[in-house]
Symmetry: C2
Subunit: 306 residues, 2 copies
Amino acid sequence: MAAARIKGVLSPVVTPFKRDLSPDVGRFIAHCKWLLSQDCGLAVFGTNSEANSMSADERLSLLESIVSAGVPTDRMMPGTGACSINEAAKVSAHATKLGVAGVLMLPPFYYKGVSDEGLFRNFAEIIERVGDARLRVYLYHIPPVSQVPITLGLIERLLKAYPGTVAGLKDSSGDWSNTEAVLKAFSEVFDVFAGSESFLLANMRNGGKGCISATANINPAAIHGLYAHWQDADADQRQATLNDLRFAMQKFPMIPALKHTVARFAGEAAWQTVRPPLAPLTREQGEALDRELDKRGFTMPGWRVQ
Amino acid sequence: MAAARIKGVLSPVVTPFKRDLSPDVGRFIAHCKWLLSQDCGLAVFGTNSEANSMSADERLSLLESIVSAGVPTDRMMPGTGACSINEAAKVSAHATKLGVAGVLMLPPFYYKGVSDEGLFRNFAEIIERVGDARLRVYLYHIPPVSQVPITLGLIERLLKAYPGTVAGLKDSSGDWSNTEAVLKAFSEVFDVFAGSESFLLANMRNGGKGCISATANINPAAIHGLYAHWQDADADQRQATLNDLRFAMQKFPMIPALKHTVARFAGEAAWQTVRPPLAPLTREQGEALDRELDKRGFTMPGWRVQ
């Protein structure tokens, strides 16, 4: 039997950078360990990790560093998609050899309006090149950013061609009707993760397996609380509380806002650094965000003391 | 004095691939040499070259191969943009050391809705990292594909910070009013290339320096004819003839259509190979394209005999 598949709450782990914009391995490991301590899995190299602002080699090297530091691979779903088949296959093969639970794969996102036929060939070629029975592919549907959707027809074709290997989907469309359609069609063999905790309860009630959400970087325990108690009487109240914090964060550019907040609670200003084309929060934005979080009594317990 | 800047008609050179999807160096060199023989410069690694479907290392290696084969670097403007600053800087520095006339630089295209501040930091960081006085940057404005525009405000800021280094722009917006606005604001110090030969005559009449066009891969001599004779009495007629062929090509997916046509006139079916997520023309599409070209008496003189 294959190992049990990953499920629950995962964070697209924000990537700390040094002043010269190189990844800060020490801070990255510290944040990964804090997230694990909060029952949060590691979707390293996601959109909110600025993964596409790093080279494939930087991602390989960073993944090796956290594995060497003892971060458990069975709680990891690194992003490995790229515009080129070479790079997607290289990073996916490397991560799979290291023993990760699965890889989260963007479609190639440079060309727009490409056909499902072309996308099928892309994923098929990557899977064939990796050529490893341990590979578990989670398709990454995020049309607001990639502009290239993962359609139901494409999922069906890939599931037929690579059953077991094509394992699930992260739906970051923000469109619940799409998540619902995917769940209805495939949830018996295909693990659907909501792309935001705002849809976590709905996803669990319809056969989904969890969520992979930006704000899990700062609010993992509460999100896991809903995941663990979604069948309890207070589930809707938990969802409402999560939504309130999510909506506060969404008033700001998400990635700089997450990094600002980690910087604040870790007591490490260096965490604020983002790679261009992103820009850090302005002073005014930072203060406004702090007020929003203070109003809610928000903290990140334990980050500082690990 | 700095060397004279590149101008005229350039082709985003289509990249031939072998059956295993690796670049076919021999065929690539042959096509570059044919284009040069038709007075066409080489914007290798453009959108129509499937450059973003290749890794940075593949582009470095392919550029070295054509330089070693004696293809003159002063007729080259390789595409070097990437989502990561590392890769954009690495390929730009390498190309500049090899002596290319300039580099055509996409903005980072993963994140959407980024600020001009973030884009300024991106280009500034790349220019600083290259750190070579010979670097000439041509900004690549192609919002239908990249979804990230190069605004007039961004151009102004970059020209002020890096005069001489920031050398021009390729406008593939398809929006003549944008090209016109850039020409009006900056054409005295900034070289504007139309992104299609459809705008070549208008561009020349308003102070532009040429065009960089997909169809220059198959129709370079006629496009150069308009460039060389834009002040002659028959210029409008030349433009109309170019438009007629361009519009025929635009009925088909451009990259597979270009490769189908090179394959046909080179007598080499291998030219049809594209990398996913693109797909080759169907048989029906190929036959329809052949009929369109035959109706116009189109040929690619000399390709086969070099």
